[in-house]
Symmetry: C2
Subunit: 319 residues, 2 copies
Amino acid sequence: MKEFQIIEKYFAELGPKRKDVAVGIGDDCALVNPAEGNSVAISCDTLVEGTHFLPSMEAEDLGYKSLAVNLSDLAAMGAEPAWMTLALTLPEIDETWLEGYCKGLYEISEYYGIALVGGDTTHGSKSLTLTVNGLVPPQMAMTRSGAKVGDWIYVTGTIGDSALGLDILLDKQQIENESYKDYLVKRHYRPTPRVLAGQAIRGIASSAIDLSDGLGSDINHINKASGTGARIDVDTLPLSEALVESVGKEQAIEYAISGGEDYELLFTVSDANESSLITSLKQTGVQFTKIGQITSGSELTFKQGKLKYHPVKQGFKHF
Amino acid sequence: MKEFQIIEKYFAELGPKRKDVAVGIGDDCALVNPAEGNSVAISCDTLVEGTHFLPSMEAEDLGYKSLAVNLSDLAAMGAEPAWMTLALTLPEIDETWLEGYCKGLYEISEYYGIALVGGDTTHGSKSLTLTVNGLVPPQMAMTRSGAKVGDWIYVTGTIGDSALGLDILLDKQQIENESYKDYLVKRHYRPTPRVLAGQAIRGIASSAIDLSDGLGSDINHINKASGTGARIDVDTLPLSEALVESVGKEQAIEYAISGGEDYELLFTVSDANESSLITSLKQTGVQFTKIGQITSGSELTFKQGKLKYHPVKQGFKHF
């Protein structure tokens, strides 16, 4: 089966139809019409087998996750998902795998209303690159660089789950409770991109980033871009019951600080905007927690009560 | 060296600055502002080492070519290059290679005014995916589906050179004349995307495609999309002196029909629009040649004088 036959069969009809797509898959380019006045947010992420996902990962989960991580970048800018292209490199044509991959991709693309408008399928080691486009009203996009001294630091959902989920998959952690285990692995394989939350806080939050490298690492991206420091109160970190019950509070905090791939939003808000932010976010139904404050200087400090807390590590490597 | 350090060092300052880029490399997404009313053309292409390029290919040539093939897709739609993202997968951090790659990419991105706005660098077998965005005024984009019976078929430049260049690199052909050899290999490594020609014929040509798979294969893409057939007059095919002198007229025609990666534009124009097309294209200085006519039915026929010509093969595989 040749490349364009694969594209036609599996991808031509995938995803929602959007009125702003004038030409979809099958021509030299796709042609889209951005809503007038809007900015276009663009992000791309590559997932390589063995580096970013385990060879054992189900195709359907990979289809879901490959888009979820890209949508998470759009969420961090406050952008509304619009179009995407998929570059898929495969060692061989495995129709079962392709069907599963498309099913997972279809599920999440339908949910968030993002249309597949183009792509490329090639022969090689398994990897995939998704490039996503989102729309943002004028001057509403959030960046990493807007945090100001005194701003409060918030995070959506719970953090640390995904990293423990990965450790379970790698047999580095043994968890007895099956429902905790399922939840944690699912948080790793099927992260929830905070697309609505991102749109709810745009124009209100002063800066935002999505948590892919881990809290301890990603907060530094905000600090570096904003010229600020930060204080994180570790006792306020939102930890799931599954995480705490499985590994204990102490290790749960470590997972929350250094564990990557949560794909929750980390954002800052001025004191003046805090109440509008809370009102706006509550309408989305997404959990959110205040975890610290932006400080002067460039230092990142963790506090537990009045004491300094020293995390074992702050960064995250896939595996 | 970590991912974001690589990005910062090699890519952050690469390419021209554009006023329509509000946020470039370094945030969760890039943010661009398309000129009001314009459509955005999107295309992506993956190049995998061993499948699309030889391991011996110079990094600088690869940097150039990886963008050239994507710009060629924009050219076929009549789009003006605007922004791009680069997903680069490398087995190891080789700074010499990265410098070379960036130099080639920089050269062509500067020339065509396309800004690198985002990307991802990952660890794995060497491959790269470029996703390009171009701008097209309303209703001006060309597609493959607009050819009508009686339309004339045109091609830019000369064709077949790149495929012979590849055969030289693969030692399948021995060419004595060094300057021919250099020219042919350069046509393979450094194809010229017909960006200006594409913009010159938009609104005039009835359909267009870029020649990546070979004339005999790509004309069928137009036919399939337009519901037409075509007659190609093989004696009119534009062949370079280097191609004809190196392998003789007969084999040169075969290269022109089945050889891929010319990245010339193949397009159709109605009888009524032919003179405006010629006027408009002449201003670009790009060579162009009438090579046949769109016919009814769905058949592709090659003619040599009054006789039918039967090419040995019509398609093209990389290697």
